[in-house]
């Protein structure tokens, strides 16, 4: 038992190092893909048809193919066309593209479920379109989409482990290295525990945000 404890503390720093990369990827992906997703969903509602087609195609492509394939395509595939990404940038690029598409789809549903009467009420009060979106629509959409966005946030924590395939030193890789080197299950169990702790933390935070929006119905 003491041995396991000692071993755990020995490998913990490398696991935490991996966690740092996982969290970095997580935060950067969220910060970029949420606003991009919101913009794309506005574009999906645009009256300018070519833009609508283009964005629909993008969403269809991203949601219809595995993120793993997209990741491999960007890091290993694009160099064939002489487009080179550094590992972490490739990961960010793939994740943002993919998650923005999912968020766009969620926001599109959210926008649709805001009553058309709200737009008309804003219109007769002479609010401009940007004012209507900012003050009337977005706050309501936020409340509507929070549960679905929350699911994606939790998925993202776990999906981040896919960067393993392009050789990034994330949490999963850190655990796997220790396991193959020391022939023990302990690192993998610790990796699982860290993922659980992260998802529990984000679930808790999301619930707080949902509570914040529960002041109205």
């Amino acid at each position: 038992m003491n041995g396991i404890l000692k071993y755990s503390t020995e490998i913990l720093p490398s696991l935490l190092q991996g966690t740092k990369l996982t969290l970095g990827l997580f935060v950067i992906t969220l910060v970029l893909s949420l606003p991009i997703g919101a913009l794309v969903s506005l574009g999906l509602r645009s009256r300018f048809k070519p833009l609508q087609w283009l964005l629909n195609f993008y969403v269809w492509l991203m949601r219809g193919t595995p993120l793993l394939l997209q990741l491999i395509f960007i890091f290993y595939g694009l160099p064939v066309l002489h487009i080179y990404f550094e590992r972490f940038s490739a990961a960010i690029f793939a994740f943002v593209l993919n998650y923005a598409a999912y968020f766009a789809e969620i926001f599109r549903g959210g926008f649709q479920s805001v009553d058309k009467g709200q737009f008309e009420a804003a219109r007769v009060l002479r609010l401009t379109y940007p004012q209507t979106i900012r003050k009337i629509v977005l706050p309501q959409v936020t409340k509507i989409v929070l549960p679905s966005v929350g699911n994606e946030v939790i998925n993202l924590v776990k999906d981040s482990s896919l960067v393993y395939v392009i050789g990034l030193g994330d949490l999963l890789r850190a655990g796997n290295i220790a396991m193959t080197r020391d022939v023990t299950l302990v690192p993998l169990l610790m990796v699982g525990a860290i993922y659980l702790a992260l998802t529990a933390l984000f679930t808790f935070l999301l619930r707080k945000v949902e509570q914040h929006y529960s002041y109205y119905r």
Binding site: D115, G117, Q118, E120, A121, R123, V124, L125, R126, L127, T128, Q131, K135, I136, P139, Q140, K143, Y215, Y216, R217
Partner: protein, 213 residues
């Protein structure tokens, strides 16, 4: 004074309004009545700029006026919707101050003072800080009226102000509309309730269902 002349409107080849003309003098109440499907709501939506007439013209105080481009800070016509359409995420006070702040660029202090004043005139002084879902139907309607009044409109329009309320509340809507009239507000009220119309109207316009083309 608002004048509309020869308003026509069709939807997908079906004529709904044919050569409708109307006139409301300042400070008076015009009731628009007619059976269901006659086009009362459509007419009101055209007057308030939510729908575009196929042809016809408008004048306010003798000046030509396009309800559709009414999207300026010059708020002429206010609307109280049948289903009120309050903003659910904003408190009663915020519902009322939103447009004065954003559109008339009033300071928050000024907008709030004015809103509170309107609220107390409508017996809603104690409701300022709660949210629309916490209000009764009649209270929601009065908040919707307060929200429209806060933009200082020249004309206030209502679509079926009695239809979403308990029958017992009809009387208090009448009282409120007549009180606004006594304060000089010009009002246009769409209703299918003839008694209600007769009780409040200075003039009644009957919209008849049109034949299909």
């Amino acid at each position: 004074m608002l004048e509309a002349s020869k308003i026509n409107k069709s939807f997908n080849g079906t004529q709904v309004l044919t050569d409708i003309s109307l006139e409301v003098d300042s400070g008076k109440i015009l009731c628009i009545v007619g059976p269901s499907g006659a086009g009362k709501t459509t007419l009101l939506r055209i007057i308030t700029g939510l729908e575009q007439a196929d042809s016809g013209s408008f004048k306010i105080d003798g000046q030509p006026f396009d309800p559709d481009s009414n999207n300026t800070s010059n708020a002429l016509i206010g609307v109280v919707f049948q289903d009120f359409r309050l903003f659910p995420h904003l408190s009663v006070l915020e519902n009322i101050t939103l447009a004065p702040e954003l559109v008339l660029k009033e300071s928050r202090t000024k907008a709030q003072a004015k809103a509170k004043d309107i609220l107390s005139q409508l017996d809603l002084a104690d409701k300022a800080d709660i949210y629309p879902f916490q209000l009764s139907g009649g209270q929601k309607q009065r908040v919707a009226i307060a929200r429209a009044l806060a933009l200082d409109p020249k004309i206030l329009c209502y679509d079926e102000p009695t239809s979403a309320l308990d029958p017992g509340l009809r009387q208090s809507v009448e009282t409120l509309i007549l009180r606004l009239k006594s304060q000089g507000m010009t009002q246009i009220v769409v209703t299918h309730d003839m008694t209600f119309a007769q009780n409040i109207a200075d003039k009644i316009l009957e919209v008849k269902p049109a034949q299909e083309l």
